[in-house]
Amino acid sequence: MANVDRREFLRLVGAGGVGAGAGFMLAESIKHPVEYLIPYPVPPEEFSPGIATWYNSVCGMCPAGCGISVRTREGRAKKIEGNPLHPVNQGRLCALGQAGLQVLYNPDRLTGPMIQNGERGDDAFVKATWEDGLSRTAERLAAARRDGIYVLSQGVRGHLANLFELFMGELGSDRLLHYDFAHPHPLYAANKRFFGEHQLPYYDIRNTRYLLSFGADYLTNWLSPVHHSLGFGHSRQGNDSSSNDGVRGRFVQIEPRMSISGAAADEWIPARPGTEGFLALGIAHHIVADGRYAGDDASLWRTALAGWSSGRVAGLTGVSEGTISRLAREFARAEPGLAIGGGAAGNHTNGVDTLVAVNALNYLVGNIGKAGGVVFNPDPVTGGSAIDRQANYRTMQNLIENARDGNIDVLIVNNTNPAFTLPRASGFREALAAIPTIVSLSSFMDETTLMADVLLPSHTYLEAWGDDMPQPGVGFPVGAISQPVVAPLYNSRSTGDIILGLVGKLGFNEAIPWTSMEDFLKDGWREIYERGSREPGDFDSFWRDVLVSGVWGENARRGGSVVIAPGVIEGMAVSAPRFSGESGEYPFILHAYLSTAMYDGRGANLPWMQELPDPMTSIVYGTWVEMNPATANEMGLADGDLVRVTSEKGSIEAPVVLFPAIMPDVVAMPIGQGHDALGRYARNRGANPIEILAPETESASGNLATSATRVALVATGRRAAPVKTGGESRQLGRGIVQSTGSRSAPAGHSAKLNSIPIIVESAVVESA
């Protein structure tokens, strides 16, 4: 470095310094963040880092009661799959069930007990201790009138149900209600009326050759969808010579708006809403008239069904005579054929009549108690009485009136959300205001909990002890244990423990000595074990086995032939459906159906369910109105036009979706969205069609007739195209979904259709 003068030297030093600084910061900026290894102080014995642990448990997302096995890594739940050992879902699981993880890890969970501190409804809660929350509740309970105490729970079964019973018994109140929006009251009522059996039989779709479904969306949310899907798949292609002589099952769906089951069916038949019962009778008439029924009560039937000639029925239902007679022929010939009814068909004012008529069909083809038919279940091992606690709309109205009249002092709500699933017209929300004390055990801040005074958040089903006896069963008694798969995330407690906590506070200990749900459960299962149990070994090994396999069953099927209730044949008739609203003023019948992803709205706070495209329309996030394209065309409505759906009881807004498979005078809306609570993913999204339902009830069962509301559509002039993942929904002859005429296509068929024949290397290549 010759001739560097002072100034230059300084310049160079500056350059070097700045450069060094820059280099330093560069290195700093691209540095890998520090990570930590944090071992347990004392690890649980089944735990080892890097290796997954599976726990078998029971799904709590819907009443089907599937068995699940949950994969955990490093003490965190990673994946829910079906429990292969469980007879209901046999290792399979629906979308909603798998989203249970997002119930557990939901960012909007209630993290601990809270006390209402301000006006009800304005979400002003302050944190409290369990001690505080429980004693506060206990005080209110102690102070309350015996018959002024209501417990309103989601449908619970097994030992939790028993615990509730015990608790109510001690409280001296029998005001214990289970409320599920989708509970199939009409089906129970129909079975009671026709068979004298107040239960859900096992519908053996697996082995049936011909399924006639009256409005029952058995593949997505009717009774036990996963089990039905298994059956569907098997009946379609699973049949080989061993079962069903390799005949491919045929499926017929009768409903005003094509559901998933409708899409899966071979034949979708739109019948006027509420007339499904007539159609059933028409088919029955045919079967009897053609002399396909040879029972000794044939003459009775002939007289009972005389009035239901296919001509008349065709006029009533809008289904052609030819179709009716064909259905009758096919159905009777199938052996075994199976008829099921539910969903919208059961939710008209004549629902029970309809379902009784459907039962009649099963009876007439003699599939009762047979494979591929209707098989009745033995009573559940325990907690069976809970079914009688199920509240229908009338019961709820009763509760509401009591509340208005100030007859309710304390209302305990357990994870059910009537404020969302009851029509506005029912006045439930107003009634809540009249109840002095409301205690909510919900894990989330849902619409009902928002009105509560004391929040005692319960565990999610993945953190709690419990058990479940699935209904409908599978023909024999099944019990499944639900065990905690992860340590509780927050300061919540299992429902059972909360009840037991109250028990302690109220001093019911001598009657209810248990201190934790686990003990209660264990003792309960000791009974099950002792009732002539066939398992070898002592109870502890039995208990361990049950915990490992997650499910228990015994081979005790119902014997004997089923007799139908006396006088039912003579009384065989279907009353005409009633609808609220004049057809002139309200031209459309509102067909509100349970959303595939969100069931009755409980899935709306799960991001996966929000982003699961609706199978029929591929719409995510939101509510929409499905319309027949022709009708929409007449009204000048286009896809995505925002319309106001108005019934006698209110109105909501939603965009129109042109739906090719819906009757011209019917509009359909999915239930599940339109929450004004329940966390960030659910709040202020879409609309809730239940809100505008008229409080029409099913005459026999007293259930809410959700399909009995007429609505009018008014264009708002605005557009709000629903967000959807799908583009053009026609194939344009590109042969994407291909279909073949019959089961046995000529050989080499596929080779012709594909440029590349599909070859299988014969030998297994051992990799060196």
């Binding site: 583009g727 590109r734 994407i736």
Partner: protein, 450 residues
Amino acid sequence: MQTEEQQLQFTDIHNDVVRSLVVTGRGYYITLGCAIFVLLTCFFFPWFYQLYYGIGAAGMNSPTVWGTYLASFIFWIGLSHSGTLLSCVLHITNSQWRKAMYRSAEAMTLFSLMVAAMMVMVHLGRPWFIHWSVPYPNQMELWPNFRSPLLFDVMAITTYLTGSSIFIYMGSIPDFAAVRDRTTGWRHHLYTLLSLGWRGTDTEWHRLGWAYTFLAVLIIPLAVSVHSIVSWDFAMSIVPGLHQTIFAPYFVVGAIYSGTAGIVTVMFVLRKYMNFEQYITKLHFDNLGKLLLVLSLLWSYINILELFTGWYSGTSTEYEQLKYKLFGYYAPLYWEMILFCGVAPLLLISNKFRTSFVPMLVLSIAINIGMYTERFLIIATTLSRQYLPESWRVYVPSLVELSIIVGSVAMFVTLFLLFVKIFPSVSIYEVKETMKIPKKKGMPEWQATH
């Protein structure tokens, strides 16, 4: 063509050119300032935002995962053609009128190539890993995928960039020397470096001439190959509407077409604002106009052909594609393109139009707008109509994209403004050659041949 240049003396040329380098008006600085400002605000700012936020800042979606960035890339590559290409062709065919304009044309090539390279960076999801697309030996023995047309692209463009920069540099060495001898201060030093000690001896002239011609021959096929390869990025796919044999010629013609139009624009600007009226004359516009006319006809022909392939294919995929292009969401753009690039250029049939400057300017700009639209449509119409109808989606460019398009133009302008102050934007020695001079002993044959 001697008419204007009769009274023109060698010294005038020197003075004019040196003036264009040394004397700088306020106007220049204002323009440059604006250009740089736009470059920063409309290009770099949105780009950095996109780097931070992700490509989501652009309007692309699935299946239309390519968008205006790639369209701009093709556009700039296209513009780069006919700069150097044209100058080479004309050099070999020894056409005199080339000499006044070729340098700025070549500069255009260079700069549009640079902008194109930038567009690639903008297009990438993770540009900080772009070096992986270059084959360099490494311990992992990881190589780029040599089957990939995109990799061909990288190769072709770098080669083209190198080739054309050498070409323009060599061509200007004598001028650097000339300027060197007429400047002082830092300019003198700069041009001393650039002129590599050029003395102007016969041997030097001889070698220069030889090498120059050699390069010219070399570059012509290169230029053609570059845009063919760019077209393969698309044609090698099996996407309906892209998977076509016509694409390579289609792209090359389109490229030269837009490039020539670009030259017209640049020439106009130079002529007007650098006061080169005497050098860039009606003649140049006339010739370029003829060239444009031919190219436009070629272009229209290929476009019609393309429609036929869709029509005759008889497959739903191609047919829907065609329908969508003509009457679909982007149809207005399509017809705009036809108007600008297919119909409007027919005006060039009239001499009067070709030889009047302003209309030529307008037309040339219109053509390039049309050509940009073409590139956009090639991507937008095809990708949004892929094989599975369920995946069909419309793609609308976002603000970020639009501003980056504007910014890329600013980048080009900036580079060009800097160029005219550093490079003699009109070739001094070649213009001299066009003037009557006594045949001296020792003058290279290639010079004496005209």
